[in-house]
Symmetry: C2
Subunit: 331 residues, 2 copies
Amino acid sequence: MDTLELAEKVERGDRRALARAVTLVESGRADHRAEAVTVLERLAKTGRQALRIGLSGTPGVGKSTFIEAFGMMLIARGLRVAVLAVDPSSARSGGSILGDKTRMDRLSREAGAFIRPSPSQTHLGGVARRTRDAVALCEAAGFDVVLIETVGVGQSETVVAEMADMFVLLLAPAGGDELQGVKRGIMEMADLILVNKADGDLKTSASRTCADYAGALRLLRKRPQDPEGFPKAMMVSAAQETGLTEAWAEIEALIGWRRENGHWQGRRAEQARFWFQEDVRQALLAQLQTPDARARMRALGDAVARGEMPPGRAAQDMLADLRAVSASSGK
Amino acid sequence: MDTLELAEKVERGDRRALARAVTLVESGRADHRAEAVTVLERLAKTGRQALRIGLSGTPGVGKSTFIEAFGMMLIARGLRVAVLAVDPSSARSGGSILGDKTRMDRLSREAGAFIRPSPSQTHLGGVARRTRDAVALCEAAGFDVVLIETVGVGQSETVVAEMADMFVLLLAPAGGDELQGVKRGIMEMADLILVNKADGDLKTSASRTCADYAGALRLLRKRPQDPEGFPKAMMVSAAQETGLTEAWAEIEALIGWRRENGHWQGRRAEQARFWFQEDVRQALLAQLQTPDARARMRALGDAVARGEMPPGRAAQDMLADLRAVSASSGK
C-alpha cells in the first residue's frame, strides 16, 4: 500500500490502516520515517482535531478500569475513543502499560475504540515523538477523544502534558500522608484530579482525600488558562461507574472555556512549535545511536577514561567520523 | 603566538599565557576551538592534577569573603590557587559572580592566585564545557587547588560536581526552617558543609544550624566514596578567619582516603567519559545556534504554530537545510 492509499484509508477511519500507520510512525528506519512524514502531512489537511486528554496515575489506582469505564461511557454517547500510552519503562520491560488489551476487554471490542500500547524505545524522547505522531493519526482518523495514558513518575507526565489539551490525575483514596506522595510538579500540571474507588468501604476515605486535594489545589497560583473553579478535584468510582458523566461534563466545560478564550489554540500552537524543535534536536542526536556510532563512542570514551586522550580531542575525532559517514552516505 | 608556544608558557605557569588560553577555550569560533583542543592535548601530557573543589552557596552566605580567606590560607601554605566560576545567569546578567575581582582584593593581587569570572554564554552546557577546559588549563599551569564556584540553584551544582573531585556547600546560620531552604539534591552532593559567619552574635545560631545539618547528613545513605564521618558539617568564620585550617585538614583527609581507595581515580575517569559524550552532544546541537539556523528554526516554528505544516515535515526540512550547509562548507 502506498502512502497516499494508506492516508486515505486512515482518513476514512479504517482501524487496520490506522494500526498500520501507527506501526509506520513507530519505526526507526529512515525510509519508514520519510513515508510517515508524508502520511502525516497528507492527513494534516483533514483539519480534524480530537480532544486530547493526558491521564496519569501510579499503579494501583485503577487506571485500566477507569479508562475502560470512561471510554465505554464516551462510546455510549456516540463518541469514538482512542487510547495511547507513554511508558518510559517500555524499553526495559517491553511495555508494562497497555501491553495487554485484555485489561480493557470491553473497550477493545468496541468498533468505536482504538487501543495501542506504548512503543518500545530506548529513550523517552523516542517514545514521545512516536506517541505524538500516533495522536495525530488518531485525530485524522476521526476519533473524538484521544486518551494518552502514562505512569506517575514525573518526566513522562511532562511529555504527555506537552501533547495533551488537558491533564487528568487519577488517585486512590489514602491516609493523611497521601498528599506527600504526589510530586508537586505533577499536581501543578493537573487540570482535574479524580479520586477513584469512591465506593464501599473506601468512600469515606475517598471523600477526605478529595477534600485534601481540593484544598491543596486552592493553594496553587491561578493560571490564566483556568476558568473559575479549576483545577478541580472530584470523586469517581470506575468499578461502579459513578461520577464518570460528571467528570466528562467538567472536562467539556473546561475545554469549552479554553476554546472560547483562545487558550486551547494557543496551547496547540506552542506544542506544535515545541515538537518541531524537539524533533530536530532528537534527529541530530540520533546520529549517535547507530551501532557503528555507539561502538566508536564506547571506544573513544574508554580511551578518555584511561587518560590517553583529552575529552575535547576525542569529541573532535567523533564529530569528524560522523561527518565522514554523513558525506559518504550522500546525505 | 602559536599553540605550541602558548602551551609551553602555560606549562611554565605564565599567568598571562594562561589567561590567553582560557580566552581561547571560551571562544565560540571553530578555528579557535581547534586551536584550543590542540593546546589542551599538548598540556594533557604534563600529567599534572590539581585538587578540584566545587563550591556552592546562595547569595548572602559570604562566598567571596570565604574564597578570599580560604585562598589566602592556602597561599600562605605555599599552594597555588585558581578560582573559576560556573554562573548559569551569566548570559543574562553579563556575569553576576566573580565578575568583579575587587570582591577578592587581596587574593587577586597574589602571584600564586588566578581568578577568572564565569564565561558569558547562552546556555549552561556552553558555560560548563568552557569552565571544564579552563580547569584543565589551570591544572597544567601547575595550580595545586582549583576552586569552582557556583550559586545554589540546582542545575549548575550538578555541572560543577561533574568536574570537581569534591563538593563543598557554604551556608549561613539561620532559623529552624533553614534546612527546608537547601534542596535535597544539593545536600546529597555535598562532601562537606561549612556553616559560615560562626562569629559574634551569630555564633550560637551557627552552632545550631551546623548541628541540624550534621543530623540531616547522618540520615543520608552512606556512599561508597565516603570514609567514616563523611559527609561532614563544620563551622567557619571567613571574616575572622577561623575554622579554615580545620576545613582544609578535613578536605585533605577526605581526598587522601579517596585516592588510597581508588575512588578519586574512578571518579576522574567517569567524569572524563561524561564530558567527552557531552561535548559530542553539544557540538551536534550547536548547529542550531548559528544566526542562519536560528532564523530558519524561527520561521519553520512559526509555520508549524500557525498549522501550515506538521512538526515532522518542518523538522525534515530543517535537517535537510543543515545537511546542505554542512556539505557546502566542505565539513
